[in-house]
Symmetry: C2
Subunit: 426 residues, 2 copies
């Protein structure tokens, strides 16, 4: 049973955030940038405190027998803090999206009608073990004029709470409203469900973490959610593919950073080239220690080759996000077969075709329904910075509001502004 | 207890719509326009059938003692059918939003990265008694490449079902996919709740009707909702207002069409001009038979004047959408007082200031948080056509995805498209 005082504290934070958001919406860029500069500086100035809070988290994690990769995600170091600080300074350099007027046009009756970009209001962020998310999200929300309520995973609660307080202190010194950046200090799990119901106080919820967190938020949030981060990514090797490009792109997409959402999960390959191309691709992946989950036809082709790490694919392999050095292989008889497979098993994140045939490549680009669709390039490029957004608050696999990498502009709304001179409607 | 066969039929419609949506996404503009032309023609060609289905609805409505304004909403006539048909022809003339590529830029590594506009997929529309909504929504969805599942109120079910079938027949003749336009024929109320849970089959839900329908959909839909249509609209008469503009604009906003969402509900007036301006404004509104719900100060000013229709305002008058010839009056001591009142009681629809003072007007434009904010013009202008969108699928009072009047572009999404030449990530 959750304590009433904890729920009241949460509601109080929501009210304070609402008031802060109203003020933040008109805060000049110079003040927001000053606050960001203060945050960047404080992270370095107060690194002793931060690292000792982080030690508490690490000690607790070790004592509860958490695995190595999780420990790595929790861990902060002087160089990691420098990287977090540098990330904040980069956001200072980005243009402020708020206040821009656009689509202005003069109506026949003399009305000047257009749109003006405004913040969404209050953003809720629920994340897991990485304490750097505290600062990343806070800085992006602040620059885009949104107040933020953070909820960190318990594994990094000491680090995250301190980082959030440091960020709020920096805001206070810069004349930003109280409550621009707030964090929930209780780690009571039941609190998340209360937070997800606060539709009147939180305008958008951003979950950052594994599939179960995202599912929980999607299914229970009363406010809009930007969910994403789950990437079941295919690369289709067409019969008209260039072999060198196919090898380089597949290798890059699978092995350059296998633990991320835009890494390759499934190779689709046209039957015309399975005898010529597939052994070359498989051999290259074997050098990188990739385990291949093969359908029947590809297994028949690859089985005779020594030194490959082959597994017979089962139904669960299709549509699986491996996040490790594993990939499935499926043979298709046509572009349509590839499109159907992607439609059935893809997660709408990043999909690629390798083909020198113009019409085939264009059909793939046009017909695949995913946030990012590539011709002859690695799916690893799906990223806010690469796509020219300057920074990334998340990757949406939804179609509503924002799709794919989300930058500052993607956490804004607009209002219609109308400049008149006494006009009335006839 | 709802019949299982009815639920199965609904699910079947959802599946068919999903398949139709995939095809509609790549249907060329010429085919979509041909289907729209067929719809426009069929409505005229088959008006005998339509009017006799409408007579059934009217007979049923009369026998159940429905009020006059409701009967008027249900009623079709040759001239109304001509207007519906003309509306469809107008949508033919609008540019197709789908397929447009934009924001393309060349990355340093030679990747061409940009966005391409795509449909949302399947749109659900739940509406009340106006059968014309069947065709309006269907035509807008078709042009924007979205499949639609319609759910009409039972008062106009015969008219709506026939109109939807006529639209689908017209689509069939034009080579559009089966299931582009579908309507739920059962009027079982419980079916709405099933429809609202079909997140996998319906990408966006648009409720069109009164406050209780919108509340039901907002609170129960598992998919995104574009809710709107509730307008509690204020016009603030500043101390620096031009009296002639104030009188003309307030009169227009209140009386030109009082039953719509962008009509005026509350006059806020600066205390400096209550003795000079308020009697003039009130006298003009009295001529139009407007009932004025006055706060204490304005009552003291207006009471001595004969021929006014005054009522003492109660707390419920603030934040009330009258939809009739009634308006509330509240005296404020400053622009800030007006802003606070609007923040507390406004519904985020349309708000206006009357002022000749540049800084006051600009502060109002910048600080009011509503879908449409006016300086020196009537709130009655909030409309997709007036705002240059060509047509209107609804007015959103949300900040997420689309705000204010929504045209064709506002029921689309985008995908990122990346043209490469073998690029891999370093």
């Amino acid at each position: 049973m959750i304590k009433e005082s904890v729920i009241n504290e949460l509601i109080e934070k929501g009210k304070v955030a609402r008031i802060a958001a109203r003020k933040l919406a008109f805060t000049p860029t110079t003040i927001k940038n000053k606050a960001l500069a203060n945050i960047a500086k404080s992270i370095i100035d107060r690194q002793g405190e931060i690292l000792s809070a982080n030690t508490k988290d690490l000690d607790y994690a070790k004592s509860s027998g958490i695995d190595k990769s999780m420990l790595d995600r929790i861990m902060l170091s002087p160089s990691r803090l420098e990287a977090i600080s540098a990330g904040v300074r980069k956001i200072i350099a980005l243009p402020d999206p708020i206040g821009e007027m656009y689509d202005l046009h003069l109506a026949e009756n003399g009305l000047q009608i257009g749109r003006k970009r405004v913040p969404l209001g209050v953003i809720g962020a629920i994340y897991e073990s990485r304490p750097n998310v505290t600062i990343d999200i806070s800085a992006l929300c602040l620059k885009s004029g949104n107040a933020v309520i953070l909820r960190s995973g318990k594994e990094s609660i000491n680090s995250s709470v301190l980082l959030a307080h440091i960020a709020q202190d920096a805001c206070d010194q810069s004349g930003l409203p109280v409550g621009a950046i707030q964090i929930i200090e209780s780690t009571d799990h039941a609190l998340v469900n209360h937070m997800l119901k606060m539709r009147d106080m939180i305008d958008l919820m951003i979950p950052r973490g594994g599939a179960s967190l995202i599912k929980l938020v999607r299914e229970n949030a009363a406010m809009p959610v930007i969910a994403g981060g789950i990437g079941v990514c295919h690369t289709y090797v067409d019969k008209d593919a260039d072999l060198d490009k196919a090898v380089a792109i597949i290798r890059n997409a699978k092995t350059q950073r296998p633990s991320v959402c835009n890494a390759l999960d499934c190779i689709l390959i046209h039957e015309n080239v399975i005898k010529t191309y597939l052994p070359v691709i498989a051999a290259k992946l074997a050098k990188d220690k990739v385990e291949l989950h093969c359908d029947e036809i590809s297994m028949d082709i690859l089985k005779p080759i020594a030194s490959l790490n082959l597994v017979k694919a089962v139904e669960e392999d299709w549509g699986k996000e491996y996040l490790s050095l594993k990939a499935s292989i499926k043979v298709v008889t046509s572009l349509d077969g590839a499109l159907e497979h992607i439609e059935k098993y893809g997660s709408g994140h990043s999909e690629a075709i390798i083909s020198e045939n113009y019409s085939t490549a264009m059909r793939f680009i046009n017909e695949v329904d995913a946030a990012s669709v590539y011709a002859n390039a690695s799916t690893r490029f799906t990223d806010g910075e690469v796509f020219g957004l300057g920074a990334e608050i998340g990757i949406s696999t939804q179609k509503f509001h924002a799709r794919g990498p989300m930058g500052l502009r993607e956490v804004t709304s607009y209002k219609w502004i109308i400049f008149g001179d006494g006009q009335i409607r006839g």
